[in-house]
Symmetry: D3
Subunit: 249 residues, 6 copies
């Protein structure tokens, strides 16, 4: 169930009958190398969340499409919220849903750069919940799953793209978006075939080290059919994590 | 062109060849009466923006799906950003795109409650641009079009739903989402047929006056085929406004 | 009754006996063309609020004299709060008065540029009231009247200054300040007689389009006696709106 | 010269010919005991600033009428900005005027509770000026004069109200407002004649210790003619301080 | 007792048996002239607080080591929080301890530049306490002692360093740090022997007037044995103030 | 070298001759089980940073002693900054030092709960640096080392406390503080011997699951001599990381 496609009465019914839990997809809008879409991280988080929601009947919140991507700002089209803004957005979204009785918030994240802000926002939620409601504060719980960080996806990535998965603009994420948006598959030659790897600091440093935006990857190997398998593996694995989170005492 | 479905190199090319303008859809995630979707305002803004982008080749930013809806918070599923958060989001989005050279930002808005925050954010953008860059600040311009506020849409609404358009959970917006998401058409009986009209103050006041969420409307008349006509009328009209905005000296 | 000229015991008595309502004048401190005072918008809001307060016995809060005027900052003497600051000011003022039992806040506004921040602040008030007090939150209501936006003032402006009222540094507002501060009437020749009209974006854009600060107006026609009539028309009309607001169920 | 009563061209001329200095009156809107006006602190700061401006031709900014008065909030009608809001207001006011070339800002303060926020704001101004403009930052200078803290006023208070001046709702400040607003003189009996003295903590503590709002004072001795002498003493003394501030290398 | 060296159970016991009061040392990290340590203000506040805590069994919170020092930023190594940040830090620290039942917060301050932010933070604490908890808010009390502002220290400074104490990088504070950190005594010649005195505005102005960082002082006279005497005088005097604060009804 | 124990001239010299790098210890002030000190995390970060600074001549900033510990707030004495406050503190500290020419900031962290805020702050630093200085922004680099996350410390913990290290109030961190503050060693019996392990959500949830504050650990095994070995292992390992960070192109 997608929150956006429900009526308020349907949400009320959902809260009455079942676990007061919701999936919160969050991504980013930032460069993803020569053939990766700017929306890659938002798309991945969204399609996985919707797949889980469709299979399990879990409610899915609208995707937070713009995340924290200050280190990508030397590439055209990248958008970023300041960490403080993103924290405020997550806090407001969670606190809004908590007003209706939602108690468990499971974030499905598509972007590594979001992690600190998401985790900081969880603490901000707990602080605000405590400050505003004191002893009557509801028991709110937040969890975070980065879609690429589970055994199933890790194994499949290694099988499909041995040694060239890299860490940004990966063939896995590009495949997943190709499966989701086949009309937007880009055919671009890249050189070198495999991008240099490593860490980085600010946006200028990122561009200097990774001139076409990729880190350690060969996304020319991306294929929509690989994307389908990755989506299924991710959805299955994360649905399991979500079930455990909901069942947690 | 959707920003999310472009590569960064495509955005760079767009900025080199044409007007440095972008469409920014913004909606809300809030109750829309017995048969209206919670995502109505975000869906309307998004489909209209995409229609214009598809027809004109204009770049379309990702939709800001959660807006300012504090007055809807007594209905399950409604989400809201505080005005201060929404202003920060808009400021960060505009300033990010301005770093790449975008200069004209045309917001297509689906929700009346967003208007003050959007307009306040425009001033915040101008203030920040001035403070940070002084005399070297780029010439940024922001404009706002509420999709339902144009002659073409007004005329069509009156023709299709004479006297029962109302001002929230309108048959026009419900029709538009029915056309966009036919799988999510809800069949719900309502009583009274036409909701009471009038103003409101805070969320409790809203609920007291408008117990099922509608204001002055009969959205049971919504039909997807009406939605299609409304979409086309809105897109044509707003595309014209956008063209003028881009051409403005 | 002016709050500034009461003792606290008088305010307490006012709250016990009557409607828990207050008039909140808000203006701006910004250029108003060749012969308009920088304080025009604050003066207009203040004298109208005081006139209503004197006639009706309604309480009048101190004027918020500096508003949101970022687009006037290329003219010497203009002052502006950032929208976020102005929102905080309004929120603090309303929440302070609410602590004493005031429940209805009627803003009399002298400046178009304030509107988004005022309306955003109303939502911020509702959000804060809800977050802090939960189910025990008092029923706060806020309303906004722009002094020039009513039938009586509109009709009079058209009669006195046909076709040359314009939209900034208007002969109506200049007249009103001339009536209020006859010692500060300025005799300045202007050219062209009627300023160019139209919209604008940021401060530099404003100055480029409207080099002497006026928009579409001929304020050389301003006269104190016209100001008196405008003041009376505005006060009568807005007093009526206020009465309705107070009586509202 | 009052900024509110000038045109922008007059401000421009002022900045060209003379010291780029401005008087900034700042007060508070808070209880002042049985016969003191809620606006006492704003009125005192304003009339002194205007007297100096009238005598010296110095520019006078609009009064910041609502200050930091959180400790007075148990008395009806008191208004307060949070310190963080007041700091933002002062920062925005100063930075606005600095854009036009003002360089020296002389605050005339009517309320002890404002002092920390004003001084903190001065540092915030310096921090922001430095952060935004780096080496090109203009040389901004801010000074603060509490109107009652000078030898002349101290001597006169002692002479007029020996031993009963106290520290809040003083006969001096009440006299000054009586002179400024003779129509608002209140005749209220008080008991005890002289209020208890001492310090306080939060608003409840204040009310408990000082049930009618006065601290250590007997404001029943206030007289408009004393107010006139106090105003003249204060204006003369502070005008001297201002002159030194302007002349400072 | 130092909070940092207690277990939580020891803190719980402390709160059960005694006054719910705590000493809060706060300093700064900023230049202190040719032979003064950058940590001077934090060290002074800390050693005095610890001495009182050791003698009286009072709880001592961890030192806030970085304060508000924007005016020292032209000297290498100086660190500053913006006033708004420092206010937030103090508010969070006090509110945290208040959650456990602490009610009286006695700040021992080492730096004049902190005073406005500390006092503004006290008001912010009271405002927040009131907003969050309403009528159930605990009675929080905050007090501030600047270690150098008491009769005992004043007398001793005058005796040890007649006429050359000055107001920044004073021989007294340098002596105190020499006693606390004998391994960090610096032997530096200075010229002129006694630094020029006077006031200052922003950081550049400070550097221009006081090129080696001292104001009005001759810290070459600092000696560790003087520091010991000053420490003892300060601790004794401030312990007395603290005792009164704790005993206050 | 400790920044607090240097003069400004020594810092200037340091910046001229060597790498413009600084060690930034950051900890927390929060419960650490029955025998752990509330200052454990701040103490560990500080002594390790000082050990590295003493060995290598690297500059060491003052310790940020209060961190983000909202989940420990059900235990007396725990203090916490909100994530937004901690981010502001880190941003201000880094930006201050950057004004003097420091370019590389190496945080030595003692508390897992700080990690999101620290990493979010790094992004905030990059965003602010970019916004304020544009193309002229200096190349700032920030790195984070959690003292317990390196091969040497991990191996030693396993050897000394096999299977009972746990994840909060660990025998390793308690040992380290015992070595640093032998006068504050606590002898407390605990039951069960080994605390339950697992995750947690907010503060109430933490207390419910871990009633004495420990997670999965047996800190009764802590000994000062183990602490010494752990300190040496940590300092050696992290000194190596720091050297690489400084040498990084």
């Amino acid at each position: 169930m997608q929150l956006q496609l429900c009526t308020w009465a349907e949400v009320e019914a959902y809260l009455h009958k079942g676990p007061k839990a919701i999936l919160m997809p969050i991504g980013s809008t930032e460069q993803h190398g020569p053939n990766g879409l700017i929306g890659t991280d938002a798309i991945c988080a969204e399609v996985i969340a919707k797949a889980i929601g469709a299979a399990d009947g879990a409610m899915v919140a609208p995707t937070i499409a713009v995340g924290m991507a200050v280190h990508h700002m030397e590439f055209a089209g990248s958008m970023t919220l300041r960490p403080s803004t993103l924290i405020a957005v997550i806090r407001d979204c969670v606190m809004s849903l908590a007003e209706h009785g939602f108690e468990r918030f499971f974030f499905i994240n598509g972007h590594g750069g979001n992690i600190p802000s998401i985790r900081a926002a969880f603490y901000e939620v707990h602080a605000e919940n405590r400050a505003c409601r004191g002893g009557n504060a509801p028991d709110l719980r937040c969890a975070l799953a980065n879609w690429w960080e589970n055994e199933a996806v890790g194994r499949l990535s290694k099988e499909l793209f041995p040694g060239v998965e890299g860490s940004h603009a990966t063939p896995s994420e590009v495949s997943l978006t190709q499966y989701a948006y086949p009309e937007a598959i880009k055919h671009v030659s890249m050189s070198p075939q495999v991008a240099p790897g490593g860490g980085f600091h600010d946006a200028r440093d990122f561009r200097r080290r990774f001139p076409d935006g990729r880190i350690g990857s060969d996304p020319s190997l991306a294929r929509p059919e690989h994307g389908q398998r990755l989506l299924e593996a991710a959805a299955r694995s994360i649905a399991g994590q979500f079930k455990e989170f909901v069942a947690e005492a």
